[in-house]
Assembly symmetry: C2
Homo-oligomer: 449 residues x 2
Amino acid sequence: MARPRQLKLGAFLMAPGHHVAAWRHPGAQADLGADFRGYAAIARQAEAAKLDLLFVDDVLAVKDTRPATGKRSARSAFFEPLTLMAGLAAVTERIGLTATVSTTFHEPYNLARKFASLDLISAGRAAWNLVTSNTEAEAQNFSDLPHLRHADRYQRAEEFIDVVIGLWNSFDDDAFAHDRTSGVYYDPAKLHVLAHRGRHFAVRGPLNVRRSPQGHPVIVQAGSSEPGKELAARTAEIVFTAQQTLADAQAFYNDLKSRVARHGRAPDELLVMPGIFPVVGRSRQEAQDKFEALQALIDPAVGIQLLSDMIGGFDLSAYPPDGPVPDLPETNGGKSRQHLLFELARRDGLTIIELARRIAGARGHWQVVGTAQDIADQIEERFTKGGADGFNIMPPTLPAGLTDFIDLVLPELRRRGLFRIDYEGATLRENLGLPRPTRRGTDQAQAAE
Amino acid sequence: MARPRQLKLGAFLMAPGHHVAAWRHPGAQADLGADFRGYAAIARQAEAAKLDLLFVDDVLAVKDTRPATGKRSARSAFFEPLTLMAGLAAVTERIGLTATVSTTFHEPYNLARKFASLDLISAGRAAWNLVTSNTEAEAQNFSDLPHLRHADRYQRAEEFIDVVIGLWNSFDDDAFAHDRTSGVYYDPAKLHVLAHRGRHFAVRGPLNVRRSPQGHPVIVQAGSSEPGKELAARTAEIVFTAQQTLADAQAFYNDLKSRVARHGRAPDELLVMPGIFPVVGRSRQEAQDKFEALQALIDPAVGIQLLSDMIGGFDLSAYPPDGPVPDLPETNGGKSRQHLLFELARRDGLTIIELARRIAGARGHWQVVGTAQDIADQIEERFTKGGADGFNIMPPTLPAGLTDFIDLVLPELRRRGLFRIDYEGATLRENLGLPRPTRRGTDQAQAAE
């Protein structure tokens, strides 16, 4: 009997919550970004709730080092994603572990190796969220050159991911026999030298890590620009995206799935999982009160700084906060979020401070304030009407905001048959219903030097 | 009352044992290099025994991809050290976690960040073993350029470590107040921008990870060449070294400690911990039988390949195995081990295969075969006669070889008062008796852009 289609749900763990003022709220653990035990407790809670995966984003810098605003940000210091997920792998059994790592500031061999190692440590639960990094603050931690331009970052990423996948296919699944009698540890016919030479990289390989029970890590992307969508359609297995309305979500979903097909892949080899920022109450009034309590904690300068970051680093603090959002030049940052925010301001006629307050929680993602039933209704609509394969939950505060979703919304989703009672499989791919990758890319014959 | 001076002991976890044929022996878990649960069990065992630290080495390649010999090596695939140690951090409480990472194939910001994150995850138990990487096989995984020359690698390492330490000092220990009322998350006067511009690196900083309970990770090095010793004397807190005889150990110890003093540091700010390859039996005959059982499993081609690797990649398989070790040109690999092995061959008049078999277990480190009393005698002599501050235990097989040391040798060392009954502190520095670092390096004023 075919299993009815069910939602995939991730927990996006931005410490100590997605709302910009979360850390000032009693529902958040203010120092969660430096407390591994706190993360471990949340990971176990999410696993007990049978969520598909944990997700952390990344920035390779203290983004704002200005005394006036930087000091007010809880996102100044936090765990590095791969070490965090490796630690969480050791204290969980079933939940997926998604780490964000930039192709712009790493080497493919190191990245392939660390993710392969995480995938083995977790027995097949790793996922890599590929980003190309948006900010000059990050570039300045790696050289005195200006940040790579958007198009160049994506060109590098296209080649980077091919190298990484090639390296992940170094050993066949059954390469290791460990035959003590003959003294043969692995079958050399099942080891493949990549010998990659491209425009950006020369990587001989092979990788010195075996394939994991799920073959290799799940590939995640979040870019919604033209080159971002093309890269995702060719290579990604999950796309996290930000869509405000059902119509936008459907348009994005259909666009991406047809691009996937044009790359010769089956549409269900890529899952579209938009972000959702849920503020849950036992009544609508309680939900609204929760939201307003968070909004009341926003420092205006911090809100405008967040907005400035999100439109690619253009400094809005020089403009009157109660004036309109100015026409801004295109920057070298993330294209898709800039576009999304300008659209939002135009559509609703928002001033700078109004736009800042509007995005202070969900940062351009879909924001839903209401009862469990309200939120389940909204989720069900987007899911059944072709807007999403699942969602990446962005709790307003951590841990309280995630607890609200698990305790109030999940039972309602389960009552409707929309979410699992227990994990279907042992690996992340099995739970997501994604195919186990066979070896891909150009196989070179074993080098016989 | 001053505590009597006691040994520091590390467990060098080379899976599945240090002997080149370990994986063929029933005392070794052949697939330990891909089994995180196996590592976790060993880590807990070492912690229950109150060892100071775990240590893993690293190679950024499948070193030998030739079908004939590579297939016989258990060191073809293994965990990446930082992800492994982050996983082990989550399942241990007190033991130190030492990961080897190369300065030649990483960026200082990424390395500083991952180790700072490991140090926070483990609540102050991380250590970084700085290496510069020896082999062309590694260089070929990062570019099509030839490997950096030995002197250039050490020049890069000298600047690299200053950048890393500078980044580790970005936030003062007490920078984070999380004052919910005022909305101030950290004190901007306690955030320091590095603004490094040197010959190899331009790194603005600050690092986006807080300092850990031990300040920053312990710095470990193993190079015994002239530039290696100078770098260690200036910056290292532990030196792992290979010394065959008491006289050599004393000479190295005195040389390094006086170099430390010349760099303006107290001699006990650096601990000298040579490797020891112990084969323990309940009788001398049992120990010798254990050793011979391992030696009997050596494949001659694998032994000669290991020896070739250890002298810097010069291929000895072209020479008659029963002939003398030829005069070889200096290579670009690790200088100190080449020197050590040629000395050993000359001293004992060994043929190629004899030298290969001699180093097949300890790889040039100190090898002791005997009863617990014999081994404790030897350890005590080196420790009390100024040859070492402790030792890095290199079990012939894992897990059995470590169990032997813990069950047989440790009780004897404790009976003599040479090793701790329980941990002295919570952090690795506290257990090692190393000072907690104050902020070092050039402090820049907070940038006010």
